[in-house]
Symmetry: C2
Subunit: 498 residues, 2 copies
Amino acid sequence: MKVENAAGRIIETTIGDKTYKPYAGVIKNRIGSKLTDLTDALKKCNLKDGDTISFHHQLRNGDHVLNMTLAAARDLGIRNIRLAQTAMFNVHKPVIEHIKAGVVNRIEGSINGVVGDYISRNPLPYPVVLRSHGGRWAAVKTDELHINVAVIAASSSDNKGNCTGVIGKSAFGPIVYSQIDALKADKIIVVTDDVVEYPCNYQEITEGYVDHVVGVDNIGDTEHIVSGTTKITEDPMKQGIAHNCIGLMDAAGIIKNGMTFQSGAGGISLAVTKYLGEILEEKNITASFAIGGITKYLIDIYENGRIEKLYFGQCFDSESATYLSEKPGVPILNVGHYADPLARGRAVDNLDVVVLGATEVDTSFNVNVNTHSDGRMLHGIGGHQDTAAKASLTIITAPVFRKTNPIVRKKVTTITTPGDVVDAIVTNEGIAINPRRKDLMEKVKEKINIVSIEELKNMAYDATGGPQELEFEDKIVGITKWIDGTVLDVIKKVKGLY
Amino acid sequence: MKVENAAGRIIETTIGDKTYKPYAGVIKNRIGSKLTDLTDALKKCNLKDGDTISFHHQLRNGDHVLNMTLAAARDLGIRNIRLAQTAMFNVHKPVIEHIKAGVVNRIEGSINGVVGDYISRNPLPYPVVLRSHGGRWAAVKTDELHINVAVIAASSSDNKGNCTGVIGKSAFGPIVYSQIDALKADKIIVVTDDVVEYPCNYQEITEGYVDHVVGVDNIGDTEHIVSGTTKITEDPMKQGIAHNCIGLMDAAGIIKNGMTFQSGAGGISLAVTKYLGEILEEKNITASFAIGGITKYLIDIYENGRIEKLYFGQCFDSESATYLSEKPGVPILNVGHYADPLARGRAVDNLDVVVLGATEVDTSFNVNVNTHSDGRMLHGIGGHQDTAAKASLTIITAPVFRKTNPIVRKKVTTITTPGDVVDAIVTNEGIAINPRRKDLMEKVKEKINIVSIEELKNMAYDATGGPQELEFEDKIVGITKWIDGTVLDVIKKVKGLY
């Protein structure tokens, strides 16, 4: 068919097997400033009962944004919100009141501390869903976890929503968790305490995704956003575990030119990083790169020329956040790039070794980081599964026991990371290699002392009298999911815990 | 139902109204090197008859990648390929042979030069679809233009596919057209002549999207990838048009602190940029930012402190490509951010003024940049529509006539950008304001001379005897689409053109 379009041209609406719409005219219009207040932004996003709101946790224990958003939602009379934060800390204690008041009734996301303790005693009507960083990315990507409103904290944003965590008074390092929320959520709100002139320098999130920009006095308490300093352990027992890790890596032939590694910001991990830097000096060799959250200890090694490239996302201390903002060309690793299990490759695929912690390990090499031995759900998964699943050598560090509690045990209270992907457990009483890794066993047995995991368990039980046996109710507190979305374990309510 | 999962835990497969899959166990595996040759990569992508292959055009007239890909596809016996390049130049002349041989039978993407000339004489079985940069981004995003295999040229890539156009011997500036192809295409191949150690510095495309990495000797001819220098016009008539543009901007009150502008890399546009830099100095004021393809003229103004921020994607000369690689924090504007009509805002929304060229303009203020007055389809749309649609002041520059050809005429041969969004036509014989813009007319009429578009047309017709009247066949060569996907115009085959 031929029609005249709004530009006065005669056009065909069908050509071959294709149909075409005629030009209908246009009125010039452009998106202006998106600045508003939080309440107005939530209203304009049409937030309603039962909706899912997401947050990133990069303001850590200094975060004000989650609390101010829930308070605004409560004041709007919204009920039964599902929270989809990437993690939650003690600063988020007000969530407990929102649960009691019916403002929040479901949580899919990591929970650290007081809120976890509360839910362990008072389960929500739906289980808390715990996922790794990469697992959450994939769940949002596939819409298994559909987000209605993503609220993204930024330390600088222009009035169109180009925003960053790299600069501004509340800088916390690049925003690396929220790109998938920005891509998939129905509506996006950026909350910042530093509205800058368009265009914002650094832009981890860009204006094309953003519906509203909210300016507030403070997105967080700068003292608690990033640690001023992260501290290496001074406990000789833990230092011993760190030295054992280095010994295992060396025996396994991993400490060589071009090696790649991740270790975190915990006391033992930082010690491993420091000792690794020393041994790189000693052997006069260079690591290729380190990933994961960055700290000044990593930067020191880089500055000494012992790491060829910086390659990271999260910043764990203020020094590293500032450092990044001054380097051209350093690629920022968002969580999808770091660990999306559905992608065609991830940064974690390149890890020679990762050193991870544990609250418990068991004789099947399963690891628990989510619950304490009393059954309370107090921690998230973080990148534990993501890195363990892919590193050539996955090392778990743990003391054999803590006070009267056996850490190495027959059965962990909750499985966070399955023994299928754990290669070695390094303790203060020796190193156990997963029997699945006969190759590794062969390689290291002449060089370092290996103990069996049962021996370590027996030491733990001998010293402590064995684990406290928990009784559970049927009520489910939470579930742990593997990176592929399947259920690893169910966290049930402990009998008598109120 | 309760089942035992592969970690030995009893889990519920139904909780409330939700169903859960049990953990099924895992074998550690990781994505290794993706390096292969082009033929193998195309085979592994399962390229088949009728598939769509996409390319970016940032290697411009130096590009080898499109040609080598089509040669490899031909040698594999593939037929009826649809090309979805972002633009095509004279270097792509071999496409003509592929059309004759049945390797290529459809094209959706800009065509400059010899291939356009050939198709104008020998239309394909399906019309060439011409879209703007932003329009193409949206068409790929919505799957209106579904890509089977995206072949992305990169001047550096690691063996996992983290890649860039910023560094390496064939650097051409950041890859800004291909992000949407990477997100939406079934398969992604990166082709590079500089395989670097993992991880690549600068990463406009990341490994999670990439299936294969192909190392070749040369992705292009560096002499023609970016112009060594872009040249300001030395033609006094064109310099006059540039001065008239500045006069109009000044009269319209646009030249003030914080102004934003785009002008391209053509001779008149570069002159406008240069003169604007001079007037900013003279008035002692500062522009906020300039967008669009960057040139050394823009960098000069920036270095002189007369543009506050660099904000761009494409680099039009080698100087600007190098410059960018040395600046931390300069956000790279991909084409989606620049102009995606479906996004929640674009960089072009912020333009106070854009200066654009034309092969013809008409008395309805329609603009043609696609066809010559003899009806041959020789150019793409580029960002013409994208910027015209959003800038507060859209200026089209053109001489009133060229030799015996009236440029200002009753009716353009092809509508590229509709008069609905064109505010002023600036010629060597005066400035015409779109009657739709009464506000602009009021503002400038006391300060500068305004002529009517009919007067300009009459001058053109008087000087040339009027336009050559073309006769058309029914056969359709191509169509021009507006940024919203509707059809602006149909390009028909000129009678007698073989």
